[in-house]
Subunit: 190 residues, 2 copies
Amino acid sequence: MRRTNKDRSESMRQALIEAGRALFIEKGYADTSTPEIVNRAGVTRGALYHHFEDKKDLFRAVVEREAGEIANDIDAAAPADDGPRQAILEGTKAYFDAMARPGRTRLLLLDGPAVLGKDIMRAIDRETSEATLKHGLQALLSKSDNKDNAETLAILLSAAFDRAALAIETGAERQRYEDAIASLIDGLTD
Amino acid sequence: MRRTNKDRSESMRQALIEAGRALFIEKGYADTSTPEIVNRAGVTRGALYHHFEDKKDLFRAVVEREAGEIANDIDAAAPADDGPRQAILEGTKAYFDAMARPGRTRLLLLDGPAVLGKDIMRAIDRETSEATLKHGLQALLSKSDNKDNAETLAILLSAAFDRAALAIETGAERQRYEDAIASLIDGLTD
DNA sequence: TGTTTAACATACAGTCTGTCTGTATCTGTT
DNA sequence: AACAGATACAGACAGACTGTATGTTAAACA
């Protein structure tokens, strides 16, 4: 069984990220210990601290991977060319679909901000939901006077989407939130 | 120096809450140890674990007290009778003022949700900002068809306020966010 | 092929949390 | 007022966890 070092490292990293992800989702960051993580991955703590700076660094890798997958899921939901309004609303649905995957709200909306800080989470958000929303809003408001507010509105609405995802996970009716968001969006153009 | 037990307990609780608050704000919940807390309060860990179930229970007391003070601050900002639109916008400014007090965003928006969970934080929010916002929206939308959406909109806008408070603390222009919120509010009635 | 370096495993030190036990002060009762 | 019980702490203790330091094996490279 002769493997290259690069292969070993990469598969080990992925195994640790996967094990960490499962436990962070199940028990939260604070209640997950590094012995548990490496035990689940079938290795020792030496491997963990060889590939990651500390427990927080592993968590960051988990969150970044998850954010990337969410961005992919949203992009995969083809934004049919039905105009900016429809694009935003379809994007909203795609976001809710993506955040419905178990554990994602906890990783990105609860533990993430506390463990990694608001600045790092802002940077991660910017690459995913916030950016596409900003573009959608720019297209929507292109003829209006408050075009320069697109960025600010994207940030605010992105926060609203997040809270909606949390509420939906708790059992709230998804349709209510989609309607409410639609009314907010439509209000910007009327 | 003869003191009643009730007095001792109450002053001790307040001292622990105050010491905990200072450290939770300065270093965050995870990086604050109970020895530090009791050291700052000038007592021992025995006192802490006599009055609180555990570290998390003290944190909950800190957050609840802070949320109550924020609610007071907002209520103190007299909602002059200028109609529902103005009431909501004034409430927004009062909320930003309240959240500008150092540490409040960290306590309520970053550490709170991760440590106490979204359900407990929802319950705390409901008593403070969300409730007044909901009433304002109900008044604003009383003649419109989507009156029953006031609650959902209150939740969404409350989340937007929170993110705005975080952005403002990071250095963003407060006026931009007040304007953006005003445009969202006005869009609901036009 | 020998030497350096990367990829781990294992041992260790320090700290923290929650509990348990002990002591002094207060409270209620007779 | 004195005693019994409860309350309010202080201090000691056990277990667990984090990060580091050291050791070992296998790959990389010259």
